[in-house]
């Protein structure tokens, strides 16, 4: 018997924002109308967010991209009724323009190695039966009924799984600490799932919770059993309402099936989960700060030791892991430690999930083996840089990470290699930057972020990040001095070494790596008072190209400071001289907008860039500010 046809409509946050729920409803409507025996299924994120909203017709494996509600009728008519897939909605190879109907053949997918993301986008995250049907909760059953806690910890240890939250500590070793710790004779222990994904530009954890929440819950059940915890907390950002909803559904269903609660699977093991929502503080992703937040306090970190494994929540031994780390656990138990440890490179085993964003053709989530080269991720999977622009840098690890230049494209991606380069693997954010991005501006952006998010408890972080920001602001304003670079480096090291928690210890990374790899850009700002990427407001000016300006006046209308004025073209003026117009014909001429051009007054322009973004013909251009203002800037400095 052939499998019943199913349409898998992705409903991760990305696709939902792009209109996936309407697509889902349209499919249902059309199928009812045609009286077809086809199921329309809600799924989580398939990773390829760039082409959303997307749908896969299973079992044909045909992927339809960038759907609009009106397209559905055609697909149902042609593909589902007559069996002819509609090629215009397929993914098209950007190089050749050829359609690629099957998702498995698309380079974005076929170069990945999917472990924890394998089921994303193919099972309904709101239905536990589907997770059970693919062998879900079998690892938990095996762990609780057939293995001892020591055996489980041994298995996780020998898999060499390391925490996927950023620090990369060996998970098995951490569990062992928590198991052995009795916290001064106390019996209560806790496990926590850290889903406070605060790094800007990262959305792996959210997608996991939206696409396959049960895998993480199963991992927590196994971990709790191994450690001896009876209560678990999931700390998830309040900014992720859909993830919270799917978690709630998943927990209720797992309770209903007896995977959570008392006497799980008929054993003596009791365990239950509770969701805590974060309230918008980046530092609360740090483990001690997160625990303070769960206890209803300010989410500030505290010095370690004592580590959570000995004194965590309410002074009891607590084990805290990232969402992805938990999700690897069932796979390791099911497939064995060797299966996991065989993948990867050196001490970095298994796979790693990146959220690939920024100036890249295929934004989305990718899962690749540890040790893959950056070039493969960015060019083969990511499809390279859009609009033929030049690659400049790749930023990994969010505000704690660094920017790596082109020379690192052929280096392997592991915890060690990125750390040696001055960055970190972090939780998996990967932002690609092209030639239009100013590296000094990027460094300022990240320091601004960490400075705002610093909790203020320790002075190196509180004052240090602010001083770093001040110096960077001086540089982007054209008032930098050559000594500033040395000062930034010295101060950066100080903040790194003197701060209490991971936020401060890594905050200077973006500054230090940009100075290390893009010193010439800093020098251009400092010595020549020039921003090579034409980003820094104080060093550029906007002007209008007369040849391409159509006089549509869009810039004039949107200018917040009225710096744009309307002028008549020279040629028009001549004509006017020859034929003095009546009022009526003048009105007519005005409508022919080509006779009007706009001019930007550089003295009143605040360089907000609104006109630049709005111009339909690209007639607004950027150039270095003329010399006299630069001289002025230099003069004012002396």
């Amino acid at each position: 018997m052939t499998k019943k046809r199913t349409i898998l409509v992705c409903q991760g946050t990305g696709c939902v924002s792009a209109g996936a729920p309407q697509i889902h409803r349209e499919f249902e409507r059309e199928i009812i109308e045609h009286r077809l025996d086809v199921e329309v299924k809600l799924t989580g994120c398939r990773g390829f967010c760039q082409v959303g909203p997307s749908a896969i017709v299973d079992p044909d494996d045909i992927l339809y991209c960038r759907l609009k509600p009106d397209d559905v009728k055609e697909i149902v008519n042609s593909h589902l009724v007559n069996g002819i897939p509609v090629s215009k909605f397929h993914y098209h190879d950007p190089a050749t323009g050829d359609p690629i109907p099957k998702w498995k053949d698309i380079p974005f997918y076929n170069r990945q190695q999917k472990m924890i993301t394998a089921q994303w986008g193919f099972i309904n995250p709101e239905d536990i039966e589907e997770y059970l049907a693919i062998g879900g909760y079998r690892a938990a059953r095996q762990a609780i009924l057939a293995l001892t806690p020591e055996e489980i910890i041994e298995e996780v240890k020998s898999s060499q799984l390391r925490g996927r939250g950023g620090a990369g500590f060996l998970t098995g070793v951490k569990w062992d600490f928590a198991r052995r710790s009795n916290g001064g004779g106390a019996s209560q222990k806790y496990v926590i799932c850290n889903a406070d994904e605060g790094d800007p530009g990262a959305f792996m954890d959210r997608s996991l919770l939206e696409a396959n929440p049960h895998s993480m819950i199963e991992g927590m059940i196994i971990g709790a059993f191994a450690i001896g915890a009876s209560k678990g907390f999931i700390y998830v950002r309040a900014e992720y309402p859909l993830a919270v909803h799917r978690l709630e559904v998943a927990i209720t269903q797992a309770r209903g099936k007896g995977f959570l609660g008392s006497h799980i699977l008929g054993s003596d093991f009791d365990f239950d989960l509770q969701i805590n929502q974060g309230a918008g503080a980046f530092v609360s992703g740090e483990e001690t700060a997160l625990m303070a937040s769960i206890m209803g306090e300010r989410g500030s970190p505290r010095p370690r030791p004592p580590y959570p494994a000995s004194e965590g929540l309410w002074g009891q031994p607590t084990n805290i892991n990232n969402v992805k780390t938990w999700a690897y656990i069932p796979l390791i138990i099911k497939n064995g430690a060797k299966w996991f440890a065989d993948m990867g490179s050196g001490p970095s085993k298994g796979t790693v999930v990146f959220s690939l964003t920024g100036k890249i053709n295929n934004s989305g989530l990718v899962e690749v083996p540890m040790g893959i080269k950056l070039r493969e991720i960015i060019y083969d999977i990511g499809g390279g840089i859009p609009h033929g622009k030049k690659f400049k840098a790749v930023q990994t690890g969010g505000p704690s990470g660094g920017c790596l230049p082109e020379s690192y494209l052929d280096k392997e991606v592991t915890y060690e290699s990125l750390e040696a380069a001055g960055s970190i693997l972090g939780s998996g954010g990967m932002i690609v930057l092209d030639e239009d991005v100013c590296m000094v501006d990027i460094a300022k952006y990240f320091i601004n972020f960490t400075q705002e998010e610093s909790c203020g408890k320790c002075s190196p972080c509180r004052i240090g990040t602010e001083k770093l920001l001040n110096i960077l602001e001086k540089i982007v304003n054209g008032q930098g001095e050559e000594e500033d670079l040395g000062l930034l480096e010295e101060l950066g090291e100080l903040v790194k070494n003197g701060s209490l928690c991971g936020l401060g210890q890594t905050a200077p990374n973006p500054v230090l790596t940009t100075i290390r790899y893009f010193r010439d850009e800093y020098m251009a700002h400092i010595v020549e008072k020039r921003c090579p990427a034409k980003v820094c407001k104080a060093l550029i000016e906007y002007y209008i190209n007369e040849d391409t300006c159509t006089g549509c006046l869009l810039c004039l209308r949107s200018c917040p400071t009225n710096a744009v004025t309307e002028h008549e073209r020279e040629a028009t003026k001549d004509r006017e001289h020859k034929h003095p117009d009546s009022a009526a014909s003048k009105g007519k001429r005005k409508k022919k907008k080509v006779d009007t051009i706009c001019v930007i007054n550089p003295d009143t322009c605040v360089r907000c860039g609104i006109c630049f973004a709005n111009c339909p013909t690209g007639a607004i251009l950027k150039r270095d500010r003329p010399l006299y203002s630069k001289q002025y800037a230099v003069g004012s400095m002396q």
Binding site: T13, G14, V16, S17, A18, P21, R25, E28, R29, I32, E33, C49, G52, E197, G198, D199, P200, G201, A202, F203, R206, A238, E239, Y240, N276, Q277, A279, G280, A281, F282, S284, S293, I294, M295, G296, E297, R298, G299, S300, S355, T357, G358, K359, S363, Q395, G429, I431, V437, I442, Y445, F446, C455, S558, P560, C608, G609, I610, F612, A613, N614
Partner: protein
């Protein structure tokens, strides 16, 4: 309050599609394949609408309608059947159904039918009540046989239902009263424990839109901790606001992907269009502007959210248009 719907049909696919259609319309939907179970469900819960199949194993749909008319006379019943005929439709209407829809139906058809059925039922009920009122007033009928106690219980029950069903009369309260009501409702839901503080603050915040001093004071009293302590905790988190926000919240994402994709310009455009800076509310109280670190839909960069709606690939012009649209709907509402 969400309208409640019960769907009785022996075909699970009909149940699941009705559920999806009407949940998207904001209904609470209960489903069952068994007519007996359906009839027992209406005894516990009041359903505004009941969708009922005709051909079902066990109990005939027509009988279900008759029984529903007795056990849940307030529900608008809509008959659905794959074997439509005029006779059956008339029979169903005679027994108290409000409408009759043939299977298969499109979402639009069934939504329209249900909305009309509810309207008709409400009209019918109003008419009956009016007529009854006229009759008792003119003395044409008297109610000697009804026990005074039952009458009292009945009117109490009606009042109760009015109270719970009246759309949050919170609107009509003064601001401090409204916040007090919300805070008390939230306090009732949680154990009075310091560990629940953030969850409580979040609940009050999501209903009221901000944390007022009154709300913090009430929580402090109930949890027996100082107001300073609560304020210190709440002010640590970016989520909590302490002033009344505008009707609509515009959040401009300046996460890294949005930042390199032009999020800064979008923020400039929002500031210029609304004449406020992030953290402020427009003078007319319509918009608040906020800058957020990352909304997590980086593939759509640059992103702006207005209330809960996400707008991707924003441009200053698109933002301006969207703001205009909200202003237009606001002016329509006030007119």
């Amino acid at each position: 309050m969400a309208r409640k719907m019960l769907v009785i049909d022996d075909d699970p696919t009909v149940l699941s599609s009705c559920q999806r259609i009407f949940e998207a319309e904001g209904y609470y939907v209960a489903t069952t394949t068994s007519p007996e179970e359906g009839l027992s469900l209406v005894l516990d819960t009041y359903f505004d609408v009941v969708l009922c199949d005709w051909m079902m194993p066990g109990l005939d749909g027509m009988d279900v309608i008759t029984r529903l008319d007795h056990t849940s006379p307030g529900s608008a019943v809509v008959m659905i059947s794959g074997y439509p005929s005029i006779e059956r439709a008339t029979e169903a209407m005679k027994r108290g159904a409000m409408d009759y829809v043939a299977k298969p139906f499109t979402p639009d058809e069934i939504i329209k039918a249900v909305n009309e059925a509810i309207q008709r039922k409400e009209d019918e009920e109003t008419k009956i009540i009016e007529r009854f009122g006229r009759l008792t007033k003119t003395g044409q009928i008297s109610l000697p046989s009804i026990d005074e106690k039952i009458l009292q219980a009945l009117s109490a029950a009606i009042d109760e239902r009015r109270r719970t069903e009246a759309q949050p009369s919170l609107e009509s309260l003064s601001e401090p009263e409204r916040l007090q009501e919300i805070t008390f409702a939230v306090l009732d839901k949680y154990e009075r424990d310091r560990n629940n503080l953030i969850a409580m603050l979040q609940a009050v915040h999501s209903y009221a839109g901000y944390l007022s001093y009154e709300a913090i004071g009430l929580i402090a009293r109930e949890l027996q901790i100082s107001e300073h302590d609560i304020f210190g905790t709440a002010s640590f988190y970016a989520q909590f606001k302490f002033e009344k926000p505008g009707k609509h919240l515009i959040r401009v994402c300046t996460g890294t992907a949005c930042f390199v994709g032009g999020g800064g310009v979008i923020l400039e455009a929002a500031k210029s269009r609304l004449s406020i800076v992030p953290g402020q509310t427009t003078e007319d109280g319509v918009f608040s502007l906020e800058r957020v670190a990352c909304l997590g839909c980086c593939a759509l960069a640059p992103v702006v959210t207005i209330d809960d709606e996400v707008y991707g690939q924003m441009s200053p012009a698109k933002l301006s248009r969207t703001v205009d649209k909200v202003y237009r709907t606001e002016s329509v509402k006030s007119a």
